[in-house]
Symmetry: C2
Subunit: 130 residues, 2 copies
DNA sequence: ATGACTGCAAAGACTTTGCATCTTT
DNA sequence: AAAGATGCAAAGTCTTTGCAGTCAT
């Protein structure tokens, strides 16, 4: 069953050591120098595995690509729906309360809060894109 | 420039008349009976157009597909990261406050709040998926 | 040895694009 | 007639899968 894998370990560490919320491709790019034979399919497979094992979390698809997060503590993000930029926001008590009350209301087990909108750079341009 | 299009109008009305948050494919399925020649590419093109025009809003990719929302008022969703199920939650004052304060903190123009987690059906099974 | 893990290439799923044709103005 | 909108098919992205070879136990 569970078996050690240098690749998987590297992927997990890569994810834990960055503050950005990377995609499979970004992780591959990071690890390629040290693991020249590493393959994108392997990255995907291990990300799925790590996610299923609860060691990482997926942020879902953002701007067409799945983003992952090495921080599995409940926390919050702000995401630009235009360019995909992601910012962390501190997990205030009001957010925690919100997550809890929404969970009670809906029966969901709320794990993360993603506020979406337009980042400063997109806010001006995208509103009237053209 | 802007020109009337029966297809675009139908897509917009379809989106406004449903409470689910559909994908391009779902919209096509709905409209096919009345618009037999309607094409998926046309649906996509018009969704992009309507989104750029600010008449609809994208919820981003959920479970691999982009979902759209005919309700452009700021509001909140709960999304299951396992099966993609979407639930609306009433826009309470605490959520509004949260969105505003996050906006101030990050400089983003916050438009929606998406709480993610596991729905009741996935909560039991997915946690220990296997 | 055995079964998990990997690399590679092929296949999938959803979305976008090119182009000739049809519509709206 | 002119410019936008559409249908169809081809091309693009990102992701998953099949398979034979490799590695950890």
């Amino acid at each position: 069953m569970e078996r050690y894998s240098k690749n998987r370990q590297a992927i997990l560490e890569c994810l834990r050591s960055t503050k950005i919320h990377p995609t499979a491709g970004w992780i591959l790019d990071q690890l390629r120098p040290a693991y020249p034979s590493l393959n994108l399919a392997t990255v995907y497979r291990n990300l799925i595995r790590l996610k299923d094992d609860g060691l990482i979390r997926s942020m879902g698809d953002i701007a067409g690509e799945e983003h992952f997060d090495g921080d599995i503590q409940p926390h919050a993000h702000v995401i630009c729906t235009c360019c995909g930029k992601i910012a962390d926001i501190p997990l205030t008590e009001s957010i925690i309360n919100l997550m809890e009350s929404a969970g009670r209301q809906t029966g969901f087990e709320i794990l993360a809060s993603q506020l979406t909108g337009l980042c400063p750079s997109c806010s001006g341009s995208e509103n009237r894109k053209e």
